[in-house]
């Protein structure tokens, strides 16, 4: 909500109950969030335990056994270079989760920092928001390819390119929240009492932002995993020898009619994970702060 002030009802800022209890209540009220959490933990476990899950080297190529349909030997079949799709999907969990989590963490932290400052320091506001507009209007594909060409294709570059595209959205959210909070009587009182700016931010503003930020973070996490697939589709994603769910699908896409399993299995994993992340986000949103969080 750029340059707008939403006249919202006051927020009960001081009614902080132990956070974990709110989570527990939320899970009780939202069994779907619990399901989401369980799926996510499962995926994380797969990622960590990849080498011990009956996998072989996911990069090993054997052209002689290419495009074998799923069987007892190759559970998810083999791809066009004879690589074992099961192993690739299992190892792919690592890359996809790392991309999702790293982008979520980086963009929320960066967005938080920029959003807090711009929301409070009015002079910076217009400038920073225009910079954000500019940033958002540079296609992330361009950034990804430029970064790739500057150094080389790597997971790090994919994370940076997606993060740069996500940050402005987080900034907008944080800023609009800060603009509302700033008008709150207790914040005004704190300012009148001569409390320093960092102290106000940490004491009064931050606690009210954590909830929507976490929720936004989960959405960003899901969308980053999808964006990674799209970058791979264009050829600017994770280096293709390192498997990720996105690039397994992107590499096998033209064979959808012949070897549908190349898309099916990573697709199921990706969808399940994004679904889980979003369910968790929805649950957290309702649990932590139903009012503010809904505004995204």
């Amino acid at each position: 909500m750029n340059a707008t002030t939403v006249v919202a009802p006051p927020i009960a800022a001081k009614s902080v109950s132990p956070t974990w209890r709110r989570f527990r209540d939320a899970f009780r009220r939202h069994p779907t969030a619990l399901i989401g959490g369980v799926i996510l933990i499962l995926m994380a476990a797969i990622a960590v335990l990849a080498p011990w899950m009956g996998t072989i080297d996911p990069q090993a190529v054997f052209p002689a056994r290419r495009l074998k349909p799923p069987s007892a030997e190759f559970w998810f079949g083999t791809d066009m270079l004879g690589r074992d799709v099961y192993s690739r999907v299992v190892y792919g969990a690592r890359v996809s989760l790392i991309v999702g989590l790293a982008v979520a963490a980086l963009s929320t932290l960066l967005g938080l920092a920029i959003g807090l400052v711009t929301g409070y320091v009015r002079r910076l506001d217009a400038v920073v928001m225009r910079v954000m507009d500019g940033l958002m209007s540079i296609p992330s594909v361009l950034l990804a390819i430029a970064l790739m060409a500057l150094t080389k294709a790597s997971i790090g570059n994919v994370i940076i390119a997606i993060t740069l595209a996500e940050v402005p959205r987080v900034v907008r959210l944080i800023r609009s929240l800060v603009l509302i909070l700033r008008e709150q009587p207790y914040v005004e009182a704190a300012i009148a009492a001569g409390t320093t700016l960092p102290r106000i931010l940490v004491r009064h503003v931050l606690p009210n932002i954590v909830a929507p930020l976490l929720v936004q973070g989960t959405y960003v996490c899901g969308s980053a995993m999808i964006t990674e697939a799209i970058l791979s589709f264009i050829g600017a994603g994770t280096p293709p020898n390192i498997p990720s769910w996105g690039n397994i699908m992107a590499e096998g896409r033209s064979l959808i009619q012949i070897a549908g399993y190349l898309i099916l299995y990573p697709g199921i994993c990706l969808s399940l994970t994004v679904l889980a992340v979003n369910l968790l986000g929805d649950g957290m949103r309702d649990a932590l702060d139903p009012r503010l969080a809904r505004r995204m």
Binding site: P63, L67, M80, A153, P240, L255
Partner: protein, 533 residues
Amino acid sequence: MTRRAFPLRFMAAAMCAVTLGVVAGTPSAMAQGQKVLKFIPQADLRIIDPITTTAYITRNHGYMIYDTLFATDAKFQVQPQMVDKFEISKDRLTYTFTLRDGLKFHDGTPVRSADCIASVERWSKRDALGQKMAESTEAWTAVNDKTFTLKLKKPFPLALEALAKPSSNVPFIMPERIAKTDPSTNITEPIGSGPFKFVKAEWVPGSKVVYVKNTDYVPRKEPPSWAAGGKVVKVDRVEWIYIPDSATAAAALNAGEVDWWEQMPPDLIPVLAKNKDVKVENIDPLGSMGLLRFNFMYPPFNNQKMRQAVLYALDQNDYVLGIAGSQKNGHPCYSFFTCGTPLSSEVGAEPLKGKRDFEKAKQLIKEAGYKGEKIVIIDATDQPIVHSQSLLTAEMLRKLGLNVDLQAGDWGTLITRRSSKEPIDKGGWSIFHTWLVGPDVTSPALNFAIRGSGQKAWFGWPDDPKIEELRDAWFAATDAAASKKAAEAVQMRAFDFVPYVPTAQFILPTAYRTNLSGLIIAPITLMWNVEKK
């Protein structure tokens, strides 16, 4: 601004944008009953100058709108095309050419000797074989508007072969005013004297190219054979519709939205095989040759033994499968010259052909004194043929215990990076892969990748005076037997020095609706003689 007016204006602006777009877009209006051939080309046509670029799609475009003085036929014989009669003097130093009657450029002007001379001269500044011929050329002279001569300083037995060169760069004939353009600057006016005319107003780069039949074209009487013989156009209009996604292209052909798909990934054959209205065929007799190129400037591949080690370990069968999907669309080719052409042989090929010998390879690596230097393979993930070769090579070198770094990027990055002569740690490279179409590597003259001219050689810059010497000896050969023998000597040296490693010969099949007939079997895509029912 009043509140009510705002959305209206916004809507109005949006509508304007749409209307503007509609006006800007070109209507594909066409008369009823016209025969339109809809064709999915192998790539998008971006550069319309067949001399500045060697891109195959531009070469194919060249064959649509331009004509050539001579052409090579299916028996590898040179046949006159625009030329009616020609004479070679006894001392083989003077060639006299006379043009056929009725040759006219698309702008209505007749084809004159001056046009041919300017075109050939521009081509010979750019093309490798053309440059070689220029070295022996004294002068091109117009005798009159229809007759011109080539005077040589010393005999050049390949003069006619050069003028009949079937693949990039082809000496296409353009009007003199256009052919006067600097050979490094793209021409902007696509005017030739060929069997089709380019419709520039309907060209949408990245999407569509439109040609119409040149009704003024006078074809030769002979039946077509490669680019030789009569170019009789049997449709009214040809539309090249670029479909970047192969799954979509297959669906479009299946649904009958297009008539012909120039090159399809062999893996998609089963998708089309079910449809009885679609035929999949290999109409390209020579196919393409995959290759693995080394960087000769830095360790470890500046060492001959390291390169030989790769010869012993690389299994062409893997590359055939990786590129072509099955043995049906490719096969090993243990020759530096296109298998299936007169000069190809397996002389000296034992290290590449025999049983794969990793022990021997490892021993050679040891003898080479390999100290764990990093080997950078540059990969282009948007080019499946490059990408699969890169993955296979990386895996093979890893098995040999070498320190491999596979660096992925796009094709645009690859072809920029490969021109870097910097050391590995400063953005340089050790290995890249590509492929060349069959007609480009049929002889020591055409195969530029085999050359050892050092800093002037193709990327990788091998320096091997001996192979250059043998190549010159081949140029001097005057009859077929001597030529074959000289080519074998070149190849012997190549398998010892290893300027690059041939990885496979493969054929990308073409697919078309069964209402098409008369497709010309040739290593280049030609669109005359094709009939649509």
